[in-house]
């Protein structure tokens, strides 16, 4: 994982994660060497895949969108068909818990079965976007197979970077600048393969609109060849309109069902652990509203940014999704009308109230464009709700819900 600030940045247009097997099939297409192997959805499939490969040894790898799979038992080297069956069954039969999955773990639906490779040395290679430089950056280190965040923190001198010029693109000399940092230097043939692979990684990164393309570890085999034995690709959501094929790589089983539904309506919803639902327009205000709920002594049940230009239908769906979470004990609607007008919001809320029986208290705080019309629509309806005039009052009403 190269992500030093792994924080939720819930602005629209984040990333779509790919599975390792998907990333590797893309790597193959760009000429980046990966181990022979294929994906399997059952124990029988796994045996069939292994049958076509050289070996044993084979490697069985759980395909989930979370790092730390190795330590959680999601990556196993097996030395016989029996071991292969046992490992496949073990991984498929129960949720895999890693440092990134949370304590409940994640159900594994697919396995990647690969031919074993003899490793001489492990390296780290990734390409990402550097926000400050506004350029893609290639990151290389001899500290392969380790947590690169820790390496960068503890021994930054072991992590090397080359920025990509926006007009020139990746230049061969940049690959040499990185590769010749190695000590001791590998064979000239290996160095050449390494620099070629870097150029191909850049090509894949830009062609596929990646936010991140990471190989950890990138290995040098006993024969001196370089090979990506792991692969992680994140795609820029905003570019999916021109990456039609990649859109089909999205895996709904990786998502919370409510989040999945929200996505269908173009709503930016993240389910959380608390019991105060929140519907807000704008990511910044939504985050700040979560902070206010917490300051009031309660816990937010969700993050929901209905977006700047939300339609009446989106507001309705948003409220429905919030209320479907049975933990929700009260809902705070906090809208500062800009492009989203308060009257549109009010009608959306009423439509939702007609469809579903709202049994929890609603706290509504409206401000901005067409606020008077919005308030009037709500007041003239039969909907029961509490009005908050400002954020401070909204916080107070939330606190009341918690104590009461």
């Amino acid at each position: 994982m190269v992500c030093l600030n792994e924080l939720p940045i819930p602005y629209k247009g984040s990333i779509m994660k790919l599975h390792e097997y998907q990333a590797k099939s893309l790597f193959r297409r760009f000429g980046i060497p990966v181990p022979e192997g294929d994906v399997a959805a059952s124990i029988r499939d796994a045996a069939a895949v292994a049958d076509k490969l050289h070996g044993p040894p084979w490697v069985v790898k759980a395909q989930i969108h979370a790092g730390g799979r190795g330590k959680g038992g999601g990556v196993q080297v097996v030395h016989s068909p029996d071991e292969l069956r046992e490992a496949s069954e073990a991984i498929l039969s129960r949720p895999l818990i890693t440092k990134q999955t949370g304590s409940k773990g994640k159900k594994v639906h697919k396995l990647l079965i690969e031919q074993g490779v003899e490793i001489q040395q492990e390296l780290y290679l990734a390409m990402a976007i550097d926000r400050n430089m506004a350029r893609p950056v290639m990151i290389f280190s001899q500290a392969g197979g380790m947590d690169i965040e820790e390496v960068a923190e503890e021994s930054p001198e072991r992590v090397f970077r080359e920025f990509v010029h926006p007009e020139l693109g990746w230049m061969p000399f940049q690959g040499r600048c990185l590769a010749y940092r190695m000590s001791p230097l590998p064979q000239p043939e290996t160095l050449k393969e390494l620099t070629v692979l870097m150029a191909r990684l850049h090509k894949a990164f830009t062609t596929l609109d990646c936010s991140l393309a990471e190989i950890n570890p990138l290995i040098i085999t006993k024969n001196g060849n370089v090979m990506a034995i792991d692969a992680k690709i994140d795609i820029d959501d905003n570019a999916l309109f021109r990456q039609k094929e990649l859109s089909t790589y999205d895996d709904p089983t990786e998502k919370d069902p409510l989040e999945q539904r929200a996505e269908e309506y173009d709503l930016n919803y993240i389910r959380l652990e608390g019991n105060i639902g929140a519907m807000v327009n704008g990511a910044g205000l939504a985050m700040a509203t979560m902070d206010v709920i917490k300051l009031a002594g309660a816990e937010p049940a969700n993050f929901l940014d209905v977006g700047g230009g939300a339609s009446e239908e989106m507001v309705t769906k948003g409220l429905e999704i919030i209320l479907e979470d049975k933990r929700v004990k009260a809902v705070l609607i906090n809208i500062f009308g800009g492009i989203l007008r308060c009257d549109v919001l009010a009608r959306g809320v009423l439509t939702a109230a007609e469809k579903i029986d709202i049994r929890v208290p609603l706290i509504v705080r409206l401000e901005g464009t067409n606020v008077d019309q919005g308030r009037k629509i709500l007041e003239d309806s039969s909907l029961e709700f509490r009005v908050a005039r400002d954020m401070a009052e909204a916080a107070g009403l939330v606190a009341e819900q918690v104590s009461g």
Partner: protein, 287 residues
């Protein structure tokens, strides 16, 4: 940018472009032209539409642009404005691919154009002009500069300032995307020279390191009072949407890191959004 700026709205014939062109006109902004390729010769709310920015400049002498072009064509629209020599380009569009913005950022180097955004509410000098989508009536002329990475959160803060009796000199939304045209520091430099601005409210959020860099700059050479607010303090770290570029800035991005960087630079950080207006009044009421 001031009340003499002549604005061209790129994407004026779209739903949002039309709506906000009218809002800007109502606010008093000199919306002199619109651009939509293929719709030259039409007019929107009395504003003449041209096929290219070049024609709009030749015919109407525009120098500032406000962009509502859809994401797939927005980078091209920005570069058109930059190439034609506009002074200021405000890009409202949300959802531009990051690699498109890499190209834009590279192209902007050594050019005179100032880009605000993308994915931003724009810029307003209350009582004078607005180029953007913020609701005009919540603003009030005065001496506080407002800088923000957010949209509606900025409206919230401005509304509180106005209710507290604190008017604003200029409010700028710099944009919520990973790659943006101008940063907090670029605008702080202007606020430093601007005699109308007596103090600044800086609204940040988690992710990136823009707030830390602003803190460093403020400590070094910005003498006017600054109050900051950081959104996302309670955002759970379990939800990972990796921003790998952050490796370069050495692990910054958490709210607490930003708050401590700001506080150690002597900046007041408001913890409670509900009382930000009051906090501002206490600190800046005398300015």
């Amino acid at each position: 940018m001031d009340e003499n700026s002549r604005v061209v709205v790129q994407g004026i014939t779209g739903r949002e472009g039309t709506f906000h062109a009218l809002q800007m006109l109502t606010y008093g902004t000199e919306v002199a032209a619109g651009v939509t390729p293929g719709k030259g010769g039409q007019n929107v709310e009395g504003v003449p539409v041209f096929n290219t920015v070049r024609e709009a400049m030749e015919e109407e002498g525009v120098n500032v642009s406000c962009i509502f072009v859809p994401p797939f064509a927005a980078a091209d629209a920005i570069m058109e404005g930059v190439s034609e020599g506009l002074d200021v380009i405000v890009c409202i569009t949300e959802g531009i691919p990051t690699l498109d913005m890499v190209k834009v950022a590279g192209f902007l180097e050594h050019k005179k154009a100032v880009l605000i955004g993308p994915n931003c509410p724009g810029i307003i000098s209350p009582g004078k002009t607005k180029v953007g989508i913020m609701p005009g009536p919540i603003h009030k002329p005065g001496n506080i500069g407002v800088l923000s990475r957010s949209g509606t959160l900025t409206y919230e803060v401005v509304d509180q300032l106005t209710r507290a009796g604190l008017g604003q000199s200029t409010c700028i939304g710099i944009g919520g995307d990973p790659i943006i045209g101008t940063t907090f520091i670029d605008h702080l430099k202007r606020f430093k020279e601007d005699s109308e601005t007596k103090g600044v409210i800086l609204i940040g959020e988690i992710g990136g390191s823009a707030e830390e860099e602003a803190a460093e700059y403020i400590q070094r050479e910005f003498e006017k009072p600054v109050i900051a607010f950081i959104a996302g303090r309670t955002a759970p770290p379990g939800r990972r949407m990796g921003h790998a570029g952050a490796i370069v800035s050495g692990g910054k991005g958490k709210a607490e890191d930003k708050i401590s960087a700001l506080e150690s630079a002597g900046i007041t950080v408001a913890r409670n959004l509900g009382s930000l207006g009051e906090t501002a009044l206490e600190t800046m009421g005398q300015t």
